[in-house]
Symmetry: C2
């Protein structure tokens, strides 16, 4: 049974949370859960794996861990929580009142080149809001994302908002063949400037369109960006997208969240999935978004529930990294160490129980000790010798 050459190892791409990290993770997740509940969101928990078909509407399934159960059905370790919640809502919560506010704190799994902040298993705290297409719903989600980062203790971050229909309108106005349109969308979603220039030259875009494409990816900044965008994109779809962003921003001002917001009209995330406002949160020194979300009004249809939907998730692991770079680690109560002389175990157990009932951390010795031994064993904990 025991192999001579066995060397214990953690699998590639996943991580352990040691004692201090795990405590910070629990505090952060509990804090987010409490915040989401105060905003009217209710938690749901779904299984770690789903049938593969549940993710057929998601491009994430390409990056997923897949396997078979004993009946030969294909399973997938969930690469996100949006599809599982859509599956849950469409099977067991069809008759719930809408708008419906749900939240989750969950691990998800994707094949990634592992590095700090990018792991194959990572933790998300997020919400889904089903059944409202109002701009106030978009504003609530962005405001809650801002509040989630603040609540976690992050003080230096920006949330950039954009709208997929701004660039959708620009692309449509080019009246391209489907193949060329797909190519252009891919270049825009990838923010591929060199590719965009080549494409514009090759397809002989009109000068106004060329200028718009050249500028679009740089439309990043304060409110003035919207005015510039209106001028650049002279089409109705783009203008409606900008109107929508304006309404959302006005409401974010009401939430007192506007200082943390800027605009990024080159932000797309995923043309196929998102249908309206999209956003990502950033903090200096971390090369990845710390949260992200948007509106995806077409997704629920796949699950037989045609209703508008919007959501976001924050990366728990990334938040922990960002916070550890900023704050001194929280100091854990070292607690009390309760040592006992031969024959005094009962008194020591009672003393431990008394401290614990007051919420203190109390560790009881396992063997009778002399005062000297007890002093050596206490190692920074308050010594109680009985």
């Amino acid at each position: 049974m025991i192999k001579d050459n066995f060397i214990p190892q953690i699998p590639y791409g996943v991580k352990d949370f040691l004692t201090g990290e795990a405590a910070r993770k629990r505090a952060l997740e509990s804090g987010a859960a409490g915040l989401f509940a105060r905003w009217g969101y209710q938690e749901v928990v779904t299984p770690t794996f789903e049938y593969l078909e549940t993710f057929d509407s998601s491009t994430l399934s390409e990056q997923a861990f897949k396997f078979f159960n004993r009946e030969g059905r294909a399973l997938i370790l969930r690469p996100d929580m949006t599809c599982p919640i859509a599956r849950l809502v469409s099977t067991r919560m069809k008759d719930a009142d809408r708008p419906q506010r749900l939240f989750y704190i969950a691990n998800v799994f994707r094949y990634e080149q592992a590095q700090a902040g990018r792991q194959c298993e990572f933790y998300q705290a997020g919400v889904e809001l089903l059944g409202s297409s109002c701009a106030a719903a978009d504003a609530e989600i962005v405001a809650l994302a801002v509040e989630t980062l603040k609540n976690a203790g992050l003080d230096n971050f920006k949330v950039s908002i954009g709208h997929v229909d701004f660039l959708n309108g620009v692309v449509e106005s080019a009246c391209l063949a489907p193949r060329d349109e797909t190519r252009l969308r891919g270049l825009l979603a990838g923010r591929d400037l060199a590719g965009l220039q080549a494409c514009a030259a090759e397809l002989a875009f009109a000068p106004a369109l060329r200028e718009c494409l050249r500028e679009a990816l740089f439309l990043h900044g304060g409110k003035e960006v919207l005015d510039k965008a209106y001028r650049l994109a002279g089409n109705q779809t783009s203008a409606r997208a900008l109107d929508n962003l304006k309404s959302i921003f006005t409401m974010l001002e009401s939430y007192g969240a506007a200082a943390a917001i800027d605009f990024d009209l080159g932000l797309i995330r995923d043309f196929g999935y998102y249908t309206g406002m999209v956003f990502e949160g950033y903090t200096p020194g971390l090369g990845f978004p710390i949260c992200g979300g948007g509106r995806y009004d077409n997704m629920m249809r796949f699950f037989g529930e045609d209703c508008p939907a919007i959501g976001f998730s924050a990366g728990v692991d990334r938040l922990l990294i960002a916070l550890s770079r900023r704050n001194a680690a929280a100091v854990l109560d070292p607690g009390a160490y309760i040592a006992w002389r031969e024959g005094f175990f009962a008194q020591a157990a009672a003393a431990a129980s008394e401290l614990r009932s007051k919420g203190r951390r109390a560790e009881l010795a396992f063997c009778a000790q002399s005062a000297d031994e007890a002093f050596k064993s206490a190692r920074g904990r308050e010594l109680i010798y009985i």
Copy 2:
């Protein structure tokens, strides 16, 4: 992309926690985490999957979900948390002070015939205590298990303690051929009375051994059981096991936990894994143990860290079932519904923020509403109309 015949389904053997259940699960898990911390245990979090070899020391790997990563290495969805924690301790916490107290709240995965209380994915709250072979360590683990059930709100339960060496001593005293010994152990671990009788007849056991085997599995009850057991098993190994149980029980009296304890000398759990005291907790009306654990002093050796170890885990799903059968469901604060007239969004957002800052649950309307509409939308929530 969208299949016409797609019917959203949850995979066989796993479950969703809907809004109320998920909230009760979070409360129970947070409560256990707080309790474990007060007893000096520190949380660790390990990945959901491990390399298959990490479970080579465990018979649980037979029941496990296995798959391959892209590099072709075999992975296993963890069927318990003891092996992952042993792997963690032996790779990253070798130099930590002992005794070392660790806890986890985690999901584990086993192929099971699914039924209420027996799922393929289930949640455990448990602890591992490394580095002490004292009876006081055993007593702490049992006392903490009792406290965990009480802390969860369970008021009607028993924790039965036994010791693998009681029956080990009986088996050894029979001086059987290895094959027959293995057979006898299998029958004892499975509490197979008919098989035991047949085996005793076939192998022509002495009358004293026959009587002992016949009685052993029924040695279940209060302290008087120990006296009877001393008389029945006249061997040193069994007597030492009973002495150990006596010491542990005396300490459990000091903890004030004795009323919840009885003895079950037929309790084995797993001869190959456990090396000393073992225990299981039961509550009426639930056909499965609600918690279980014991001493496994040989396990850490497999991971290159030869140290005594003991632990237990409580079944979160089972506790939730037991509690739901006992208590009326906790009533959730329905919170406030904040509706607004056209032009008053900012005031409504401020009112929501004010309530949330006081810890109240506040849901904000997404569109301007008339007073009538607001009244209809409030549905049981406190209506605030601005």
